[in-house]
């Protein structure tokens, strides 16, 4: 079974600075999908960014980018120019390819605090 590990339960960053959230995973599959979800105090789950394992190019979405290291099974999220609205729980998630097993497997999450 696939597992996702987020070893840092909490982090803080100053507004406008850059922060990196770490995530590692374990799988025997060669193709899969990785995601970062944000959960603000409203508890809504919001997709931040996603990465396909067979794509070597790291995904980027505006201020959010990932460092995907397939051999190391590492998938970190970098938030640039941090904003107060970035404060939330961040969950790293793994998803197998199709065939009826497309469930998301989440890490334990990391609470990000943004200081003004």
């Amino acid at each position: 079974a696939q597992t996702v590990t987020q070893s840092q339960p909490e982090m803080s960053v100053q507004e406008a600075e850059t922060v990196t959230l770490s995530c590692t995973y374990d799988t025997s599959e060669s193709d899969y999908y990785l995601f970062w979800y944000k959960q603000p105090p409203s508890r809504q789950m919001i997709l931040v960014i996603r990465q396909e394992a067979y794509k070597q190019q790291n995904a980027t979405e505006n201020r959010f980018s990932v460092n995907f290291q397939k051999a190391a099974k590492s998938f970190s999220l970098k938030i640039s120019d941090s904003q107060l609205g970035d404060a939330a729980m961040y969950f790293c998630a793994y998803r197998s390819p199709g065939g009826g097993s497309e469930k998301l497997v989440f890490g334990k999450g990391m609470k990000l605090t943004v200081n003004p």
Binding site: Y33, R43, M45, L47, G98, E102, F106, G107
Partner: protein, 114 residues
């Protein structure tokens, strides 16, 4: 744009009672997932449906059952409720057309069991 609708948003039940949670996926989404998120926990997969058939099953207690109806909405039925069932229950939907499909989450139903 239309989003996933869950009802009710909040539900309070007594132990041993029954609860029914409803999920209305985004139009033209034929895949529905249910997740349970306990206090301070990560979401845990419960069950999923594709084209009205169960497609995968996770750590769902035998006291729980679910189904997807002809209009693609889904219901999660929970019986003999226990204190430990208190959690946020998410429904997510996806188009089911490719592996790359994003799962769109609803706002969740917060269940409190007293």
């Amino acid at each position: 744009a239309a989003g996933v609708i869950q009802s009710p948003r909040h539900l309070i039940k007594e132990k041993r009672e029954t609860a029914t949670l409803k999920c209305y996926p985004i139009p033209r989404h034929d895949t529905v997932y249910w997740y349970q998120q306990g206090p301070g926990q990560d979401p845990q997969f419960l069950i999923s449906f594709y084209e009205k058939m169960q497609s995968d099953k996770g750590s769902i207690p035998d006291r729980f059952s679910a189904q997807q109806f002809s209009d693609y909405h889904s219901e999660l039925n929970m019986s003999s409720l226990e204190l430990g069932d208190s959690a946020l229950y998410f429904c997510a939907s996806s188009p089911g057309t490719s592996n790359w499909d994003e799962q769109f989450f609803g706002p969740g139903t917060r269940l409190t069991v007293l």
